[in-house]
């Protein structure tokens, strides 16, 4: 399963690679990384929408995670990928907007990787 992680913090890439090292080694999960919403859309375009699941931060400079979510859910004809939103701001506005735009899950930072793994397994 290919997972696209969208976050403006570059070190997230290293962190995910290590947190999921076993899964990556076993070939259970594959990760791709984008550092902005625009980059994420470019990636999806270029790779023919191969990502099944997208984990996106909400607060990013430029295109926000919510705008990205809207784009993905609106423009993708195939069954759209599962999108989980991750944010430091767990307020109702964010939550409701994310749900209305069709987010499949909503996590607040700091992300508990144990929980995340469980969720990924459930989707697998």
């Amino acid at each position: 399963m290919k997972i696209l992680v969208v976050d403006d913090e570059q070190d997230v890439q290293l962190l995910f690679r290590q947190r999921f090292r076993r899964e990556i080694r076993n070939g259970e999960l594959k990760f791709a990384f984008a550092f902005s919403g625009e980059e994420a859309l470019q990636y999806l375009e270029a790779h023919n929408h191969e990502a099944v699941l997208i984990l996106s931060d909400i607060n990013m400079p430029g295109m926000s995670g919510l705008e990205l979510l809207e784009q993905i859910k609106k423009n993708f004809q195939k069954p759209p990928p599962v999108v989980m939103m991750i944010t430091a701001y767990g307020d109702r506005e964010n939550y409701e907007t994310a749900m209305r735009l069709g987010a499949d899950d909503f996590l607040t930072k700091p992300v508990e990787f144990g929980v995340l793994k469980e969720k990924l397994k459930a989707i697998l």
Partner: protein
Amino acid sequence: MPVAESFRTVRIFLLALALFLHAITLSQREKIAFEKYGVAEGLPEEFARDVIQDDQGFIWITTQNGIVKYDGYEFKVFRGDKSDKKGNLQLRGGFKFVKARDGKIWTSNFGDGITSYDPITERFQNYLPNPDNPEELPYDFYTELLFEDSKENIWFLNYSRVLDTLVLAKINSSSGKMSKYLHKRNYPRFNHIVLNWELMEAGKDSSLWQLLHPGNLNIYNAEKDSMEQVIASGSTIPGTDIKDTIRMIVRGTESFDVLRGDKGVYLWDPVKRSCVESFTKLADRDNTLTPHNLQYAFIDIKGKLWVFQEEGNVTRVDLKSGTSKQIKYGEGSLKFSKGAKRTDQLSVFAQHDGGIWFATTNLSPFSEGEPLTYLYYDFAKERFTIYTEKFNDDSNPFPEGKHIFQFRTILDNSGLMWHATRPNIYKQSPKIRQIETFRHNPEDKTSIPSDTIFSLFEDSKDRLWVGTSNGLSLKEGDHFTKINFERGRNQKKLRQIRSIYEDSEGSIWVGTYGRGLFKLLERQKKLTPVNLFSGENKLEFSYDIEFIEEDTSGNLWISVWRQGIYILGKGTQEVIQKFEVDNSEKHGMNGLLVNSIYQDSEGVLWLGDSGDNEFGLYAYSPEDNAFKHFTHDPKDSLSLISNEIRFIEEDDQDRLWIGTDGGLCQFDREKGTFIRINEPLKMPSVTSFAPAGEGKIWISTYSGGGLALVGPNPEEVVFYGEEQGLLHNDVSQYSDQLLEDERGRLWLPNQRGLSVFDTGSLTFHNYGSREGMQSLPGWSRMIKTSDGMIWIGGFKGLNKIDPEVIFKKDSIRPNMVITRLGVNDTVYSGPDGDLFTKSVAFTRNIKLNHRQRDLSFEFVALHYLNPQDNLYSWKLENYDTDWSEPSKERKASYTNLSPGEYTFRVKGSNADGIWNEERASIRITIAPPWWRTWWAYGIYFLILLFIGYRVHLFQKEKTIRREREKAREKELKQAKEIKKAYAELKATQSQLIQSEKMASLGELTAGIAHEIQNPLNFVNNFSEVSQELIEELKEERAKSKKERDEKLEEELILDIDQNLEKISHHGKRADSIVKGMLLHSRGSSGQKEPTDINALADEYLRLAYHGLRAKDKSFNASMETDFDKSVGKINVVPQDIGRVILNLITNAFHAVQEKKKQVGGDYDPKVQIITKKVANTVEIQVMDNGNGIPKKIIQKIFEPFFTTKPSGRGTGLGLSMSYEIVTKEHKGKLKVSSKEGEGSTFKIILPIEERPKK
């Protein structure tokens, strides 16, 4: 007995019943959870051999390496000490315990002999083996305690190293006198030890009976102090005509005891020395038992006889009625896949009113047997429940594995089970897991359709409807039935079921997000779409329903996102009226996200928009058929507190309360204004409401102070948050109503678990994973159904809670013990022979002298349910006026007590708040010193009289002097006042400057919190990952050389190295943010230092962005930076220049935000920062594309107190301070250029100074 047939019928019936019950237990098995106590928790050694509870309530545990006393908090370990100190333990450890009636605890050990502990003296008395003295223990291999008889003799077996050479002996608990008797025994089986089956004290007359191998029954003759034979092996059993050999004797009831022979079980009258009734395996005599060989028998506490026979035959005989029931081991409710296969491996461990605990155990600690299983026989249900070694609970710490040796299970005086095993001791806690969770299972079509729950509703027929992210389902029994809808042209699935509503005629309506409105066709159990828009079919499916609500005339009000309000006529699906946003000028209702509705006591219908927008609140007036609109106005403190409406509700005095994302306010009907509740920090956002009576209301808050009680006056607010015991202060809820049950408890699920607040006692009870409660993200849905159950749904399925079970209190009161008493610097526990002749726990009275005036009391409530939550309250009578506030404190100290009589009383509660009203107490008399006796007082009086006279003379002289001084002081005072006024003026000035600094800091804090959170997350994550990597590395290293993957090791080390670098990097990042903040808040030192201007600008840009973002969620702007690297470090006061940059950036952000609000859609807000090196200066430019500054005011912006912000929003000092900092302090220039409608540019020009040479 004509019972053969009926027994068979009974047996078949029982089997069927047992199978049926077994099926139920599989689907809903009771789980028992345990807590582990091992070496890590304080045990001296892993092998817990025995456990008992003493008369005071302490738990005692024997190990191979010491004896342990446990009070719920600490393990006190008594270790063997061979030196002959008075009262110390001389055994290395202990084995089986016997508790004597005088309160002493007896145990023995391999090779070491016997010891007894007296809680009154807190001393051990040891009896060590001494083969040379016939009065003492002969053998040094092993001693096994049996029991205490009615004459205070402790009976035991003492073995030589050749195991078949042993003596039966007794020792008198008070005199210590020992006597020995010849004994022979067969190879012991486990139930020997548990049931003591070769020495017995008869229930009827307390006579003592010995079974001597190979089957001779003796009675103890106390006069001759010897054993006399009553039945010889193989002879006729008196009272019967059966020749038999006795193999086992067990104490029975007050009338008879149990003898088990090869052929039968005999109820033995010890006085008549004759058998009263017999049950045999001989088929020609009776049919109670089966023809199989007998294993063991005993009488349970209900007076029924159990007989175990080979091939798993178990018979329970009701001795009064003569009826019996047979259960076949391995069948029906005694069928299981794991555990011992033979009934002789089944031991009776604990009996209580409810039933019997059996354990299947392998006798030997050294052989690999079957894993442990437990059987509970319920007296009332007359059936067994099987528990695996995990007690059916996968998260139990109870160990799996075959090497466990289980010796004893006890139930303590509060009914909690304790297991002494190898390794560790296990305590039941809590009693059972209480919360049930329903999760989606893709393989089970009757499971809940999704783990994401959006709505819960119970209709008038008591049916529970669950709206999920994957459609609607109806709960029926343990199953969920998915409700589909009539498919028209649109084949899309139903997604989010957001509202379920039943109108007064019993019709059920369902509102979805994305698929519009549906009505339930009751007979077909299907949903049918309801079209709200005439002719506009394109909208038929793709719209969101916010609420469905019936008004007092029976019409249904439906709110549709971005469309408006549609009203369906009573009993129809026809829209009779609509208030659409498109023609809002006609009716005044223009809200796009209207999802609150409330019809108040005066019949006014209120609507609220929850969006972060300008809509706010509407009141419907039927006369005008239009809406009155209320909104937030930042300039008007009597306007609505915020436009984001969370709830509209009335309290019991019909006052209308509006909860918003900006706080709480109350509507003043007469004036048409709003009274705000000013709690910006603890009530920044409120979510739900419940009336609290007498004009008070309960409010839950988001990221505030937790739960709040407001009223009756709006300024009266009390918070109940984490300090009062709430698990998490964020108790935001989805519903506008707080869930309150019949007993006045508010249910507050949160991200840490479930908190339940009792509005009567004002206390919280919390439930977490221990009770099976999951943590939930905010915004979970809740409902209380008519059967009293509480349902909570979130992202992880649906939780069901039975409040009656969860609140079932442990009614067993704790035992209260005063354990230690400190007098001045000495702390007493055991008797010292002077102040205390008994241990403190047993002392009721002490006498002290006047120097012994500092006292401390230590105490403990012995109740093990959840001892860390036990509470204490105490009072020193004649000193304290009231009992102390209940607390977890277990020590009370008093200093400087005056002579007198005091009584210290203390009471305790268990974790369920059940108090022990029988308090522990101790009376203390402090004698007065000689100078406080009556004759001493006489002398004092005379001395006082003399002093009084002298004082009178002195006072007279003083009055005259004082008058003179007064005149002089008056003059001085006037001069001072002038000085003071001047100082105040100065202070006000500097305060103003400081307040500007703090105001800008305030803007920053949210940003800083967010900025720090990110690096901290990284630090935490990277260090956790590194731990995992190190574990992995260790695992790799533990492998043999051949298997080791050195490449992987290398890779792991590189990763760890890299992580450490990252940890350090992010640590420094957080550090620099905090330092930056400290610098900013600190008054300027005025010290110039070389500063990286680019880094400074970047840092403040981020802080300003996140600060604003946290304050206003809708805020967004693109930021561009263009930093000239050649700028490098220049000599400035960093905190001052930082402040200037921050001020300019914040202004820029405000400007673009303002414009975004006005222009909307197409405008792309942008803020740019550019640094440049120009000749001998450095330029910092802050540009925005906002509205620009009007020409007429551009001259004024650097003047103090000039501001364009609404009053209260800005000090007007920002730019003037910036100007001062740049021009005066740094000898630079601050320039502004602006084009109205296009934007502004501020330019800081700083001269590059030569570095001062040192």
